[in-house]
Amino acid sequence: MIHRSLLLSGATLLGLVSAAYAQDSTDPMTIGLHDWSSQIVDSRVVGDILESVGDKVEYVTTDSQAVYESIRLGDVTLETEVWEATFGAAFTAALAKGGIVDVGTMDAVTREEWWFPEWDKEVCPGLPDWKALNDCAKLFATPETGEKGRYLGGPVDWQMHDGDRIDALGMNFTLVNAGSAAALWAEIAAASKDKRPIVVFNWTPNFIDAVYPGEFIEFPAHFDGCEDKPELGVNPKAAFDCGFPGNGYLKKAAWDGMEAKWPKAYAVLQKVNFTNAQLADMAKMVDVDGMEPEDAAKKWLADNEAVWKPWTE
């Protein structure tokens, strides 16, 4: 703690002299990697960009929720993908505790929603409408859910309130939580073999887009107050009677000591900005083309110099 405050005051002094002449520390920065491809590739892309301006970078794999605690402690310097719906809670909590800063929102918008693979449409032609889905509920029944359809949600700690929504919309579905993203993918892959109808939690951008075409369920559109004002929406007695916001943020986060220790790198990170198409492209190189994340990052940088060069200036 003492160490950090010393560092900060030293940095403030430096800042007083002149921010423009501030030099980045020669210590390596640490970038957190998680277990999905777009994040790994864009972290490598950011790392390579930072190295191109003369910084040193190291990578560390961490849990995608626990990383915010590590950033607060300064063990991880930056994080390139903070998804609103899945990590928003952990990120906001860490912001409140201090030690972490919000380095801005990217152009990419994230969508997280109930999703079905295209083969569902053959047996339930009314999709993607949620009422049509509800009418087909029986098609999605499994031994553990009995008569009701099964909706396979994401891990509980992503706090999606799917159970509340099922109740609020009076749906004939039972929520089953998968334990990890990999479990969701395995279900989709298994269902694809005999075109079994399923409806699962999914998000975009990710590699499933490229491998298993499908669509999101259209729920009543999200509106302000859907989560906390029961009187609004299609069910006047319950909250959560709407879909997820279609445009969740995708943010960058950093340790609050980063700006002082690596001012140049921090300035670059502030400008880093990916779009949905770019992220999907990075994920595809790894998940579909079978490239290594490091190589995919190099290829992306080579192909998109016009995009990232300006960030370094």
Partner: protein, 647 residues
């Protein structure tokens, strides 16, 4: 035994009455009432916050971790070229293959040398070099540190009985605590990255090393000690020249356990930033690349076998004696050859990058055929697996789970007390009550019952498969060796790999969870059944055959009863493995303690994680107590030597 029967039956009757009068019971007897549930997690968190902020313990732990990190930086640089002192690396892959081969040749001979060198050639050809080196750079630090620390603590514990008594409960808990539970404090007190991985690994691998050291030193026969004393050895000489060499075999089992534990942690520690094979495996699984993750699993097994065999052979190696006047190069023939080959390797690495590191894009892969095979397998057994899933869920799993949750918690407590009473009288009944009572007091009763249900179903199903397999395997010597080899491989193979195929077969539900757990639960059952049956004295079998016992009589009346104490050790381990695997199966999707543990890990909630971990540990410890007590009674009744227990 009979004296215990009345007490056990009385407790059983109490349990029955409580269950039958369930609807009339006050709420306080149904589920732990509020006054019984203590906020352990909050207390632990407060204690941790105090240590972290007020005592400045974090500065201490981080300072200690910096020591480990410095060591890791050196191996990191040499092995995979991390930009740290001494800035020499990365060494070419050929040098590792040569060194491993030379080392194996020196300690064991040609066969092991080929295997050890072959392992590194496989890693290089599969394009896994950098990942494997990241993993090895941590293991080759963690394992020796564990060995030295464990040996030291073991000697202290052997020397001072009081220290051993204090240490013992900690070791018991540490060995039954799911790994995730202590990974959470490590994130806070040490940070993330290779050093966190190394420290978690050390903590996990330490208990068996301490245990085996104490055990070995205690077993040193009196006459050996006496002859040492008579030769005028002082205390230090007694320890280093007499006692430790005599205890070598047990210390060796400890070393072997350390290596196995280190490799078992490869995948799990990647959750807290350990790079290498484990991290890659998780990432590949995340994008459903089963074949590629399988290749990594094979690498981990190969590394485990290589390290295990070399360390074993090294410890068993007899010192070589040379005639006086033998020239240096003859006495150190292997060293000379090694040095020459190393020179060649470096030269080759300069000539072609192929001899330095094989790029991933040039590497071989057997992933495609594996993926195809898995795909065909899943399609083939899909109709069966769907029917099996339906049957198990509707007729076995859901009724059993609901039944267990339906029971008042007091019934369950009375039941475990009855079990305890039957095994070891009033004292055991109280021990069992203590363990399960603590679980009730954590406030996670329902989730704990779901864990209990998963473990019971898995162990029972595993027993249905494991016992017959073990009996079949024990029939012939060669067959036994082959089955045991399969057991070893299954045990070292990273558990995470099983998760995806079971989901593909059964979907996200309890059948998949049980399916993944069974694989692990069955291994110790098969192993100890074989070892128990093959350990039955041949004279006994001969005597029984002479008295005209046929094959089934021989099995049921002689072999199985005599092997029972050893088989029980297997049951005990099976429960332990299941408990660990159930926690990992949270990645499939469960509603038990494991799911909460996963949540605690992602919110770095130290207190909650430890409380959940302790609840799991108490289940394991209770079963351990029951089995050990009962097994001891059986052993005594049979007049056998107590079975060897793995640490």
């Amino acid at each position: 035994m009979t004296s215990h029967r009345t007490g056990a039956l009385a407790l059983l009757a109490l349990a029955l009455i409580l269950a039958l009068t369930r609807n009339a019971l006050p709420a306080g007897l149904m589920r732990p009432p509020e006054w019984l549930v203590w906020p352990f997690a909050d207390w632990l968190n407060a204690a941790f916050a105090f240590c972290q902020n007020d005592l400045g313990l974090m500065a201490v732990t981080r300072f200690a971790a910096a020591g480990i990190a410095a060591l890791l930086d050196v191996t990191g640089n040499l092995f995979y070229g991390k930009a740290r002192w001494p800035n020499l690396g990365p060494l070419p892959w050929t040098t590792f293959a040569i060194t491993a081969g030379a080392l194996a040749y020196r300690v064991a001979g040609w066969r092991l040398a080929l295997f050890a060198a072959g392992t590194f050639v496989w890693i290089a050809l599969m394009g896994q070099w950098e990942w494997a080196m990241q993993t090895l750079s941590v293991i080759l630090i963690a394992a020796p540190v564990t060995f030295v620390t464990g040996l030291g603590l073991g000697i202290v514990a052997w020397r001072f009985a009081l220290f051993e008594r204090v240490l013992n409960p900690f070791l018991n808990i540490a060995q039954s605590l799911p790994q995730f539970a202590y990974m959470i404090p490590v994130v806070v007190f040490v940070g993330v990255g290779p050093k966190a991985g190394a420290i978690t690994t050390i903590v996990f691998a330490l208990p068996p090393m301490i245990r085996m050291t104490v055990l070995g030193l205690k077993k040193v026969p009196e006459n050996v000690v006496e002859s040492g004393l008579m030769s005028g050895a002082n205390r230090w000489q007694m320890l280093t020249r007499v006692r430790l060499p005599t205890a070598r075999n047990d210390v060796l089992v400890g070393v072997n356990q350390v290596i196995m534990q280190c490799l078992a942690m490869v995948v799990l520690t990647s959750f807290i930033g350990m790079p290498g094979l484990g991290q890659k495996l998780l990432q590949l699984m995340q994008s459903l690349k089963i074949g590629l993750s399988f290749e990594i699993g094979v690498t981990i097994v190969l590394i485990a076998v290589t390290l295990d065999r070399i360390s074993r052979a090294w410890a068993e190696m007899a010192p070589k004696h040379f005639a006086k006047g033998t020239p240096w190069h003859q006495r150190h023939r292997v060293l000379v050859i090694w040095a020459i080959l190393m020179g060649v390797a470096f030269a080759l690495a300069h000539l072609s990058p192929w001899f330095s590191q094989i790029e991933r894009s040039d590497a071989f892969s057997v992933a495609k055929p594996i993926d195809a095979a898995v795909d065909i397998l899943i399609r083939l057994i899909d109709p069966v697996s769907q029917a099996l899933r339906w049957f198990l869920i509707t007729w076995v799993l859901i009724p059993f789970r609901d039944g267990l949750l339906w029971l008042p918690f007091t019934t369950v407590l009375a039941l475990v007390m009855a079990l305890g009473y039957a095994a070891g009288g009033a004292r055991s009944a109280l021990v069992c009550l203590g363990f399960f009572g603590m679980i009730a007091m954590t406030g996670w009763w329902d989730r704990a019952m779901i864990t209990v249900y998963t473990v019971i179903v898995s162990v029972v199903l595993a027993a249905l498969m494991g016992f017959p397999l073990g009996i079949w395997g024990a029939r012939a010597q060669g067959r036994a060796a082959r089955v045991l080899l399969v057991c070893d491989t299954l045990q070292t193979f990273p558990s995470f790999i099983y998760l995806i195929p079971v989901i593909m077969l059964f979907g996200v539900n309890d059948v998949a969870v049980v399916g993944a757990v069974i694989l692990f639960a069955a291994v110790p059952l098969v192993r100890y059944t074989i070892e128990g049956l093959r350990g039955v004295a041949p004279e006994l079998i001969e005597a029984a055959s002479m008295s005209g016992a046929d094959r089934s009589q021989l099995l049921w009346k002689v072999q199985l009863p005599m092997a029972l104490p050893t088989i029980l050790v297997g049951v005990n381990q099976s429960v332990m493995f299941s408990l660990f695997m159930v926690i990992i199966a949270a990645f499939i999707g469960t509603q038990d303690l494991g799911q909460e543990m996963q949540r605690a890990l992602s919110t770095t909630d130290v207190g909650k994680g430890l409380v959940l971990g302790l609840a799991v540990a108490f289940m394991g410890l209770m079963v351990d107590h029951l089995v050990t007590t009962w097994s001891a009674a059986r052993t005594q009744a049979l007049g056998l030597e107590p079975p060897k227990r793995a640490a």
